[in-house]
């Protein structure tokens, strides 16, 4: 097959694989203090923010890249990356959507995320992040009326320094680990949300991350704070063009829930997964952590991970407040040569804390999937419990599925339950469905959606249908 044909075939599978031709402002290539100062300077950051970054960078220089994960990858040359790339038209920040480069508007329209007022998605506020910069945030005025702050984190640093200073790095310390520390040094943009005391956020907040420029790492930083008694549901989506090179996306996401607050965080991750032979695709190395700081607080992670060449992440909950609740619902799908090592950590510190983990892993083609999860109940977390259910579904006989639970219970009044299953879609099941008129692919999609149902049900309704379709598309070509 010639390359042109291959490209066309790939496009059929991954409809977000286009590139936007746009002029960029970039930081000089490589990683050093000057580049960090460049980023801080272009974002007009106060001194304390630059200090935060430099401190992280000092620490980063002493850290070694981890290598304990199941999916191995070729060594990344951190000096060969661009750490900042943004459309030139964003240099003088456009004041309204009318001033925004039409190419950017067109890009988001093509992605199904219209930003213009008349076309906006109903009931969903969107922050659109393009490479290293947020290009637009919708519904801000409406949210402001209720005291909700929803804006790019680069703006929050300038306009709400007291909140950012207090909470940034409070869940993921700058010294945490290699990728998190790298992010703390070079992060560019992401979303910031603050829900004031007692407010139930009236719409879904969401961020749409788009990687466009080549040779560029995306270092997203998101910070969500739910003040006492508040509620917010947040969703992020991600896509990237098809490229032969691997691109790094190393995000840090921190959630803080105070007394009686609840944060529901959903991810539909559809980064470019690479081609059928495993060439290209995003390295999705992400640190996500939520702190149930107050009593009776709740943090719930739901993720649908279908993209990326390698997904490596463990959205976690630290259950510090008494009676706090942590949940993790996950669907991870790997096809062709994709690899994933994902799961969660539930750290029980408070009394009467509860956590629930539902993980559904599906592997097809030559892919490899690992569920890795830690449940740690500390000695003072009396009367706490965890329930883990971890199911794997295999398609074909060239893929792998692994389950690696780490269980630590230091309190005799608390308990942990773990259930795991591994199954295969049998030829008989496929034949049965086909006899009833479904094509092999429709049959797989139906069976897999059934397998994932418990998790799909957790997604906000507007996205559940999309996610369901995505599940089917991700597995196309895996049978027959």
């Amino acid at each position: 097959m010639d390359n042109r044909q291959k490209e066309i075939d790939n496009l059929k599978d991954y409809k977000y694989g286009f590139t936007t031709d746009i002029e960029n402002t970039r930081a000089p290539k490589g990683l050093n203090e000057d580049v960090i100062k460049f980023i801080s300077n272009i974002k007009k950051e106060p001194r304390w923010m630059l200090d935060f970054r430099l401190k992280a960078y000092e620490r980063f220089k002493q850290l070694k890249e981890p290598n304990w994960q199941k999916p191995k990858y070729p060594k990344i040359d951190y000096q060969d990356l661009y750490y900042y790339s943004a459309p030139k038209s964003m240099d003088d920040k456009p004041k309204s959507l009318d001033e925004l480069d039409p190419k950017l508007l067109e890009t988001y329209k093509k992605l199904g995320i219209p930003l213009q007022e008349q076309a906006r998605l109903n009931g969903i506020a969107v922050d659109a992040v393009f490479d290293s910069v947020s290009v637009a945030t919708t519904f801000r005025e409406e949210l402001t009326k209720q005291g909700i702050i929803f804006c790019p984190i680069s703006e929050a640093i300038q306009n709400h320094p007291e909140l950012v200073k207090k909470y940034l790095g409070s869940v993921i310390p700058t010294t945490d680990h290699f990728f998190a520390t790298l992010n703390s040094a070079v992060f560019t943009d992401g979303s910031f949300a603050y829900i004031p005391e007692g407010v139930r956020c009236p719409m879904e907040l969401s961020t749409y991350f788009r990687i466009n420029a080549s040779n560029t790492g995306q270092f997203e930083r998101t910070l969500i704070i739910a003040d006492k008694g508040s509620y917010v549901s947040y969703l992020e989506g991600c896509t990237a063009p098809m490229r032969d090179e691997n691109q790094l996306h190393a995000a840090n996401v921190e959630l803080i829930a105070l007394d009686d607050a609840e944060i529901k965080y959903s991810t539909v991750q559809n980064w470019y997964p690479g081609d059928k032979d495993g060439k290209g695709g995003i390295y999705n190395f992400v640190t996500k952590r939520g702190l149930c700081k107050g009593k009776n607080s709740k943090i719930s992670w739901t993720q649908v991970e279908t993209g990326s060449a390698i997904t490596w992440k463990y959205p976690s909950c630290i259950l510090k407040g008494d009676n706090s609740v942590g949940e993790f619902y996950s669907i991870a799908i790997t096809n062709n040569h994709q690899k994933a090592d994902t799961g969660t950590k539930m750290i029980h510190l408070g009394k009467n804390t509860k956590s629930k983990i539902i993980s559904k892993g599906i592997s097809a083609g030559f892919s490899d999937m690992t569920y890795r999860g830690l449940v740690d109940i500390s000695s003072r977390a009396s009367n706490s419990n965890n329930y883990t259910q971890c199911d794997s579904l295999l398609m074909g006989n060239k893929c792998g599925a692994h389950t690696v639970p780490y269980i630590k219970n230091k309190n005799s009044e608390s308990n942990i339950a773990h259930e795991a299953t591994t199954s295969k879609i049998s030829d008989e099941q496929l034949h049965y469905c086909q006899q009833r008129g479904l094509s092999a692919e429709e049959a797989v999609s139906l069976i897999v959606n059934g397998f994932c149902k418990e998790v799909l049900q957790q997604l906000p309704m507007e996205f559940a249908v999309e996610a369901q379709k995505l599940v089917g598309i991700s597995l196309e070509g895996s049978v027959g």
Partner: protein, 244 residues
């Protein structure tokens, strides 16, 4: 409607069907009886499109080469197989499965797909006719169903999809007498001068309720004797041994 000529089938180099021929015209009900291992299920598998068999000979369905069509295309054209062992599909709601199946078939036949309300109305009506427990429609497909419920579910699907040729592979085995009658009623309701049936069974019992036009005795991959409904009774009396 269905014309099988000199069909040979092998699996793992073992010959199962040998020079098998059979002709089914529109509106006819044929019964194939035979002992274990005579090739009954292989026949239904091959007609439905199951892979893994080494096949020669010719099968025409409405004058067209059946082997040209994928399993689902055969279903679209009106071939239905009631499975001997209906499959369980965990996580998939029975209603959703039935609706997906029906709409896939309707779409392929150029008919309008049913919306949720139209479908529910239809499935409820059919369930009542077949005394199929409606609660089961909201359960996972065949998961935790008794043997009889699984078989009734097959007949419900048959009734929904309105096939031209229905193949019942030992649908009667494991059924109590009430369930047997319900299955037979389901078949008889579909009987007319256009729809045909191929009923594969060990026992004569089902044929008390579904009167066949022809009975064939299958032994060692071949039809050794054909006759009318009375042949089944004879077989029941004498046993398969005497047909060697």
């Amino acid at each position: 409607m269905l014309k099988i000529s000199k069909l040979n089938a092998k699996i793992d180099n073992k010959e199962i069907l040998k020079n098998f021929s059979l002709n089914i015209n529109p509106g006819e009900v044929h019964a194939i009886m035979g002992p274990n291992g005579s090739g009954k299920s292989t026949l239904s598998n091959i007609l439905s499109g199951k892979k893994g068999y080494d096949v020669s000979g010719e099968v025409l369905f409405e004058e067209k080469d059946l082997f040209e069509f994928e399993t689902e295309e055969r279903a679209h054209k009106g071939i239905f197989l009631a499975f001997q062992y209906p499959l369980e599909i965990p996580g998939v709601n029975t209603n959703i499965f039935l609706k997906t199946s029906l709409n896939a078939v309707r779409k392929a036949r150029g008919e309008k797909e049913l919306d949720a309300i139209e479908f529910l109305k239809l499935v409820k009506k059919k369930s009542r006719e077949l005394k199929f427990d409606e609660d089961k429609l909201n359960r996972q497909l065949n998961v935790g169903f008794s043997g009889g419920e699984k078989k009734k579910n097959e007949i419900l699907q048959m009734s929904l999809l309105a096939p031209k040729l229905s193949i019942l592979d030992e649908t009667d085995s494991g059924l109590d007498i009430d369930a047997l009658k319900i299955v037979a009623d389901g078949v008889n309701a579909l009987r007319d001068d256009k729809n045909s049936f191929l009923i594969i069974t060990h026992y004569q019992r089902l044929l008390d309720y579904i009167k066949p036009d022809y009975v064939h005795v299958l032994m060692n991959g071949k039809i050794v004797k054909s006759g009318g409904a009375e042949l089944a009774l004879e077989l029941e009396k004498k046993g398969y041994e005497n047909f060697h």
